[in-house]
Structures are given as structure tokens and as C-alpha cells.
Amino acid sequence: MRRAIRAEWAKACSDPAVPWLLAALVVATIAVSGVTIGTARCPAAACGQDPARISLAGVYLGQAIAALAGVLALGGEYATGMIRVTLTAIPRRRRLLAAKALVLGGPVLVASALALGAAMLAGVIVLPGHGFTAGHGFDLASWATARAWCCATVYLTLVALLGLGVTAIVRDSTIATGVVLGLLYLFPVAAMAVGNRAVARRLEQIGPMSAGLDSQATIDLHSLPLAPWAGLGVVALWAAGALGLGVALLRLRDA
């Protein structure tokens, strides 16, 4: 297993796209969060705005890049035929995918933690000046804020792993990107489109993005379709399901 990880690490380090993707993840996340923090206002108590979700709004764009990183981690090998060499060197499919998941997940986790940490910090510093004060019922330096940051970081990592799993299933990075981003954005859009409240709520519960992003909430927790940790669990199930199916198909199919 250690050799597999080292091999994957060497490949990742030599891929010129990797630093760009991680940099893009950090920049896009911080940029969207920055704009949101800069424009958010809470004029009165109970203004219905969640400071943690405002600070972490960058996740909406950052997840697309995290998914792309996950897709390209394996999709690139299918594009060039490198996958045959890889599978010759590491014939154990499960081990290969586990090594890839570790080598992908580690850097994405660190990059997300940094980007979201910076965004969160900016929010904690700036938002009280925009009306998110204790007088309006907000406590920004709380455990809930730390939990939101933690959940969002794990969420981005899980999205990258979902990208990896889907690529293992469809074996083409372009299609995989379409499928992953479709899975992420489609559920919220579909939930808005169906007029039936119960169906919309169910769609928000099973959709990876809507469920996963519920874990960032720090206010109105009782009205969430899912409890924060359960929401993250839904995303983890999606990622685990995709990776599991990917391993099964890798075993059954030729490269």
C-alpha cells in the first residue's frame, strides 16, 4: 500500500495541472466568499442570514474545482492510456483507488481548510461591522462556526472523492465532470422547480450538495432538511457509493 501511495504521489507531483487546480480552488473559494462577505448586511435582529453560510459561500464555486481535481486524478490516465501501466504496476484495484483517494484527498483537504479558514476568519472580522453583532443574536466566535468550517472542508474533500469515484465508473473525464456537476447542481435546481414542498424537501435531503451544505448552517438548525452531521453523512454515502461501484467495475472490466 505504501508503494502504491508513493507511486501516486510521484504522479500527482509531476502533473502540471495539480498545483493550478489547488490554487484555483483556493482563489475561487476565497473570491466568492470575499464578495459575499463584503455585500452581506444584517440590518435587524432575526434577519434570517447565517454568517457561517455567508463566509463559506465560496464552497458553491470551489466544489466545481474540487470535483474537477477528483475527475482529473483518474481521468487523465484514461485519456493517455497510462491507466494500463498503472494497473500493471498495481494490479489490486482496491489498493490503487485507495491510494489515489488518499493522494487526492490529502491535498484537497489542506487546500480547502486553508481557503475556508481564511474566508471564515475574514467573516469573523468583517461581519460584525455589517450588523452581525451579539445584539442581533449572533455569536461568531463559537463552536458552531468551527463546526461549519470543519464540515465545509470535509465536504469539499468528499466532492473530490465523488469525482474520483464517478470517473472510475465512466472512464472519461469530460463525461465524469458532467455527471458529477450534474449530481451536485441538479438536485437544488430540481427542488426549486418542483412546486410540491414535500418532494422538494426530499430532493434536498438526498442531493449531495444541498444535504452537504446544510452542514454549514449555524442558525435555524431545526428547520434544516437534515441535521448538519447527517447532511455530511449523505455526501459521504454518495462518495463511498461512487468509489465502491468504481472499484467493482474496475475489477470486472478491462482497462
Binding site: A64, L181, P225
Partner: protein, 485 residues
């Protein structure tokens, strides 16, 4: 050249299946609907105002007939509102557009011409007329209101003390008869609370109570009558309304709104844009196909053959863009042409109220959405040419269109202004071609793209996508000419 590219497209079975699936998805979402309403037959026929637009006209009115010219003055000493809480009962709340003030109206029938000056829940003094007119009054604290009529001109004044008056606005109402109904009114619109996600949007009828005193008329005094003017449709029984009088003090409780109808979570029914929810899946499929149309050539090395056969690279790019755009347009048009009429019919048959559409608007929705999807596919070709990686092109197209769409609809995540801004500058602006309804600042609603409200007019939104596509096609041309294949 175009024929060669068309051959390539046609010969990949996966792409042909994909575009057919895209068309089916557009129709499928329109037919599925999932919405249920309670408007059957004419039960939800909307009142129309003097301007012909659909309006709500429900308020509690303490009135008397007033012949000819004159003025009414009154002081609003308090305006309090209550909203229902989930498990029965009500609680006090601020309803931003709760209204209490003085109104002159042509008749007690719903949809009559009127002019009114009022105190609102949190938007200060306003003078409104004929449902769509809205003028803000002085920002300082004022609670004395006056409305004067002179012929067909009605002028509104406000004052902090009853002696120093500021003119708020004057309106001309040609439809006002010689004898109008004038007096004090209170109304309180649907209350909407957006929490997290769309399923958490809750709303219900609110109720407001205003206390008036120093009511004075220049007309000869007559008896006051209390009427609950109810121009609302549907069976929903609102909260209790009425008025009491103690000496010179009137306490008036009302519910409803006097203003234009809006659609979506806190309005009625939905907009025809809902029939095009499937365009979103089509967008993803067409973007993937468009990106693969060029990146597959790079991946297989076919691009070298293509460029050897046609060394003028601009032509290759133009042919690819043209074939992708035309195929996407035809397929999407087939989908939208069925989805829009059929989807409306399905929604209406489920009792969902939809605003009536002119043939021209419906045609714009159908052709515009198909054209927007086609341009998105061309954008994917262009980005795919620049990046030479389909994954990046697909991620860019979907994220640039989907992320703003989702963000701007999830109101609590993104401040409303920022969401509007995203829908103006990103390619997602193009979906403004689905816009069929007007957004009114004086009516609170969830004005999100998902409910058919876009910050830009249709043509401008479409132009934004055209600009994005043009920029990326130019970039693609430059990189294609500069680079080795």
C-alpha cells in the same frame, strides 16, 4: 468543411443519443411537474387593474362617499402586525409592506382605480396609485397623512406634527368618477420567511392593525362604513378583519394587499419558466457533447488529420461551432417547443395558476431558451479548444451557469444584491429569455431565477451570453492558430 464536421458528429452514436436525451429531458421535466394547486376552472381568475395587469385588491376600508374635490387628513399612531406561527396562534412581527393610511378609490369593486398615502411596516411613508405606482415619502419620522383631490389629480402630503406638510407626490387618475369612496384603510400582505434552502420557504397571510386619530374631512361629515374589500381569489379565508371606533380613534385591522400580483413562493401559482426546468439537464448534456466534439479530436490525435485536411484553422473552428450550435439549437428547439405549451397545460390541469402569455412571449421563451442552450454548447466548444481538456470546459460552463443560478435562489446564503449581480454578469444571465413577469420592489416575494424572475431583460441577458461566447471563440481562434496541434 461543415459537411465533414457534421459527418463526424453523426458518426459518434453516443453524441447523437446524448442530444436526443437532452431534448427528452426538457420535455420530461415539463410533463412531470410535480406541482399541485387549487385553481380549477375560473376559480383563480385574477382581477385586473386599470393598466390591465393582474392585481390583488384586499384591504379593510373605513369609508364614506365623497363628491367632488376636498381633502382627508388623519394621523396613524401605530401599526402592528402579526404572523401565524407553525402550531397555531400568531406572533407579532414586522411585515415590511404592511400598509395603513388614507385611500381614495373609484369604487368598492376590486381592481378599481385608486390613490393612497400610507405608513408601511418598514418602508416609511409611501404614496401609491393604480397598483403599480409607488413613490417614497420623507425619510424622517412622520405619521400625519393627507390626501387631497382636485379634479382627476390626487396629491399626497405627510407631516411630523400636523402643521408642517411635505408634498409626497401627485398622480392623475382619469378614471376617477365624480363621487369616490374615501377613508382609512389597513392591509397586510402575505408574509414570507426564507430560511435555508427552498423547501424552508414558509409564508402565510399576515394581519395588521393600525390606530388612527385626528381623522378630518373637508367634505360634510357623513357616517363611516366598514367594508372588507376582498378582491382575493381562491378559497383561503384570511385572518379576522374589522374596525372599532372610540371617540376620535379608529382601530382598523386588515389583511391582504393592494398591488400587482407576483408569482412564486409568496405570490400565486408560478411562472411559465417552470416548464423549462429540464433545460438545466439539457445544458449539462449539451455542454458535455460540445466540449467532447473538440477535445475528443485532441485525445485521439484526429485533430492533426482535420488540420491537415483544412489548414485554415479559423474555418475548422467555425465549422465545429456552427455544427454544434445548429445541432444543439434544433434539438433544444424540439424540446422547448413541446415543453412550454405542454408544460403549461399540465400545470393548469393540476390547478396551478399561471399568468397568461402572448404568442410573442411564448415564442421568445421557446426560441430564446433553445438559442441560449445552443450558445452554451458553442461556448463549451470554444473553452474546450482553449483548454484542450473537455473536463475543464464542462466544469467551466456548468459552474458559470449553474452556480449563480443556485446561489441567487438560495436567498439566505447570498445577499439579494450579490445574487442579482451574478445573474447579470455570468453566462447564466441568458436564462432571462424565460422571463415573463415583472418584479415589483413594492411587493415582497422571492424574486429568484428559479421562479422566473431575472434581474436583466430577456435581450440583455442573452447578449451577456453572446459576449461570453464571442470572447471565448476569439480566444480559441488565437490559441488554435498559435499552437501546434
Amino acid at each position: 468543411m461543415i459537411r465533414a464536421e457534421w459527418m463526424k458528429f453523426r458518426s459518434v452514436r453516443g453524441w447523437v443519443i446524448a442530444v436526443v436525451v437532452a431534448a427528452v429531458a426538457i420535455v420530461g421535466f415539463a410533463v412531470e411537474g410535480g406541482s399541485q394547486g387549487s385553481c380549477f376552472g375560473n376559480s383563480c381568475a385574477q382581477l385586473t387593474g386599470p393598466g390591465g395587469e393582474a392585481v390583488s385588491d384586499s384591504f379593510y376600508f373605513v369609508h364614506q362617499p365623497l363628491a367632488g374635490n376636498g381633502a382627508i387628513t388623519a394621523r396613524v399612531t401605530s401599526l402592528t402586525s402579526a404572523v401565524p406561527v407553525p402550531h397555531g396562534g400568531t406572533q407579532r412581527a414586522v411585515v415590511p409592506w404592511a400598509k395603513a393610511g388614507i385611500i381614495l378609490t373609484a369604487s368598492l369593486a376590486g381592481g378599481s382605480a385608486y390613490a393612497a398615502i400610507m405608513v408601511t411596516g418598514s418602508h416609511g411613508i409611501r404614496m401609491q396609485d393604480d397598483y403599480t405606482g409607488d413613490v417614497a415619502g420623507p425619510a424622517v419620522h412622520t405619521d400625519w397623512l393627507r390626501l387631497t383631490r382636485s379634479g382627476s389629480t390626487v396629491t399626497g402630503y405627510a407631516s411630523p406634527d400636523g402643521t408642517h406638510w411635505t408634498r409626497v407626490g401627485a398622480v392623475t387618475l382619469p378614471a376617477l368618477p365624480a363621487t369616490v369612496q374615501g377613508g382609512l384603510f389597513t392591509t397586510s400582505p402575505q408574509y414570507t420567511q426564507t430560511s435555508l434552502g427552498v423547501a424552508a420557504i414558509t409564508g402565510d397571510a399576515s394581519q395588521s392593525t393600525a390606530v388612527f386619530d385626528h381623522a378630518a374631512l373637508t367634505w360634510p361629515a357623513a357616517a363611516w362604513t366598514g367594508t372588507n374589500v376582498d378582491g382575493s381569489s381562491g378559497p383561503a379565508a384570511g385572518p379576522a378583519t374589522g374596525y372599532t371606533r372610540a371617540g376620535g380613534q379608529f382601530t382598523v385591522t386588515g389583511s391582504g394587499d393592494i398591488g400587482p400580483v407576483t408569482y412564486g413562493p409568496s405570490g400565486i401559482g408560478t411562472t411559465p419558466a417552470q416548464t423549462l426546468a429540464g433545460a438545466f439537464i439539457a445544458l449539462i448534456i449539451l455542454a458535455v457533447t460540445g466540449a467532447m466534439f473538440i477535445t475528443a479530436e485532441y485525445r485521439r490525435g484526429l485533430i492533426r488529420v482535420t488540420l491537415a485536411a483544412c489548414p485554415r484553422r479559423g474555418r475548422v473552428l467555425a465549422a465545429k461551432a456552427l455544427v454544434t450550435g445548429l445541432v444543439a439549437f434544433v434539438v433544444a428547439l424540439a424540446g422547448t417547443a413541446v415543453a412550454v405549451p405542454l408544460g403549461q397545460r399540465v400545470l393548469r390541469s393540476h390547478g396551478v395558476y399561471l399568468p397568461p402569455l402572448t404568442v410573442l412571449t411564448e415564442g421568445r421563451m421557446i426560441v430564446g431558451t433553445a438559442a441560449a442552450l445552443a450558445l452554451c454548447a458553442v461556448l463549451a466548444v470554444a473553452i474546450g479548444t482553449v483548454a484542450r481538456r473537455g473536463a475543464a470546459a464542462v466544469a467551466a460552463v456548468i459552474a458559470l451557469i449553474a452556480a449563480p443560478y443556485v446561489l441567487s435562489a438560495s436567498i439566505p446564503v447570498l445577499p439579494l444584491g450579490a445574487g442579482d449581480w451574478l445573474m447579470r454578469v455570468t453566462p447564466a444571465a441568458a436564462f432571462a429569455v424565460e422571463q415573463t413577469v415583472v418584479q415589483y420592489p413594492q411587493v415582497d416575494d422571492v424574486y429568484a431565477p428559479a421562479y422566473g424572475y431575472f434581474p436583466l431583460p430577456a435581450w440583455a441577458g442573452f447578449a451577456v451570453l453572446c459576449a461570453w461566447t464571442a470572447v471565448f471563440l476569439a480566444l480559441a481562434l488565437v490559441t488554435l492558430n498559435r499552437r501546434d496541434a
